[in-house]
């Protein structure tokens, strides 16, 4: 049976790892290389690495860093941040990424997802969809690291990128990000029902039960988390043991 993945998210900014709350108030959490070595040693299922400064500062992805990290990484690595062209994607893959994470450009660069899928396969394009809850109900997609409202609903964008050939969606609730109050289950469930590609729940995990809910209630194929691993004693391995106890298939 296909296993539910527990995925540490590494957010990279100005040469180090950071973690924020609501895509803001970034705190430094240490060296990316150190974290990569630990995650590799602990045999996590997969790692998502995003250079969050790249898009907002108009930079290309930090290839040198991805290259160095990939050298220490024998687990699947999805990398992104600042990917705007097929050439950016190619360079990331060459540097050692296994999948390319596209966020802002999935909205701003029409055709990019289709190009990546055509050239590197449907499985290769991972689309990061960052979402805020609207005051009157409903949801809106934000780009540029949570700064830019788009007027798009996550449902519409998820369906659009699926049609274009995206292999997976990382769905992040900006409102829950860093709060450790639990994933936005209604959001996850809405998108997981709307598309047939895997959906990774992201934003809000504070304990293992939140992860179980994202899978059992939300229908997520994988759970991503950062704060829980950076700021608490909880680990991906213990998370998986907990999920197993809930009857969820995991790799132990």
């Amino acid at each position: 049976m296909l296993k539910v993945r527990v995925i540490p998210t590494m957010l990279f900014k100005n040469l180090g790892l950071v973690k924020g709350v609501g895509f803001d108030s970034w705190r430094r959490t240490g060296s990316a290389m150190q974290a990569m070595k630990v995650y590799n040693l602990r045999e996590v299922d997969e790692i998502v690495f995003v250079d969050i400064a790249a898009t907002t500062e108009g930079l290309a992805p930090d290839l040198a860093t991805v290259d160095e990290l990939a050298d220490e990484c024998f687990v699947p690595l999805a990398a992104g941040g600042g990917v705007r062209t097929i050439e950016d994607a190619r360079r990331l893959l060459q540097a050692g990424a296994d999948k390319v994470v596209v966020g802002t450009a999935a909205v701003e660069c029409p055709g990019l997802i289709a190009q990546i899928a055509e050239r590197f396969g449907t499985q290769c394009a991972v689309v990061a969809i960052d979402v805020k809850k609207l005051p009157g109900g409903g949801y809106e997609v934000y780009t540029r690291s949570g700064k830019q409202p788009t007027g798009l609903s996550p449902l519409a964008l998820a369906r659009q990128v699926e049609r274009a050939g995206a292999g997976e969606v990382i769905l992040t609730s900006i409102d829950r990000d860093g709060t450790m109050q639990g994933y936005d289950l209604a959001l996850i469930s809405q998108i997981a029902k709307a598309v047939s590609i895997p959906v990774i729940a992201s934003g809000g995990a504070g304990n293992y039960e939140h992860m179980a809910e994202a899978v059992l209630v939300g229908g997520a194929s994988a759970v991503a988390a950062a704060s829980i691993f950076h700021f608490t004693e909880q680990t991906p391995l213990e998370a998986k043991k907990y999920l197993k106890g809930k009857g969820i298939a995991v790799r132990l």
Partner: protein
């Protein structure tokens, strides 16, 4: 005295080449990445990595003359060959990703879209069991049912069932490893499957 294996990772413009090279080096091999057909000749072991679409991969192999070089080395010089993910799929006679496309035709069969069962999603993405009834040398020291890492939507349908050496329970079950004499392929990514993955690479290097 045994000669250290010389691994050539074939660069055809689509692939997570860096990861593959690193994994082979970790297993004690000397490894180089190259896209030049003549440089393939130095190899004791050829590796055709994954990540890509069938038609794009095949046209890149043809454009650079790598297809002919691979066939000559594998069929005439009997060089050991491992195709990973797309690299395994390209061994087939034909693929359907991006339209009907002729493959390398080194192992009989076709590459078709997986049919997701109830509650299953596509792409098939993540860790899943690799099962076999009769252990091939490639699976030495790796128990049947071990999880390996997959990222794909298409799968290899072997013409000759005996060349399917392992299966995985998804989409009704599909072939996750193939072998015909000196030619092997894995649908999963050994270079990303941690200890069992590195064990499989070591097994391949011993062949």
């Amino acid at each position: 005295m045994t000669i250290a294996p010389k691994v050539v990772v074939i660069d055809y413009g689509a692939g997570n080449l860096g990861s593959v090279k690193r994994a082979f080096e970790e297993c004690g091999a000397a490894a180089v990445i190259t896209g030049h057909p003549e440089e393939l000749r130095q190899a004791t072991h050829l590796v055709l990595p994954g990540v890509g679409a069938f038609n794009a991969g095949m046209s890149n192999l043809r454009r650079s003359g790598l297809d002919a070089a691979i066939k000559e080395l594998v069929l005439q010089k009997r060089v050991q060959f491992l195709g990973i993910c797309l690299g395994m799929q390209l061994l087939a006679a034909k693929g359907w990703e991006g339209g009907e496309t002729d493959g390398l035709d080194l192992i009989g069969g076709e590459v078709k879209l997986l049919e997701a069962g109830t509650g299953e999603r596509l792409p098939h993405m993540g860790w899943n069991e690799v099962e076999y009834e009769k252990s091939a040398p490639l699976f030495f020291n790796i128990p049947s049912g071990t999880d390996f890492y997959f990222v794909h939507s298409y799968h290899f349908v072997c013409r000759n069932k005996s060349e399917s050496i392992a299966t995985t329970p998804y989409g009704g079950g599909f072939t996750s490893a193939v072998q015909k004499e000196n030619i092997c392929g894995t649908q999963f990514h050994p270079e990303k499957s941690q200890k069992p993955g590195l064990q499989l690479i070591k097994n391949f290097l011993k062949s």
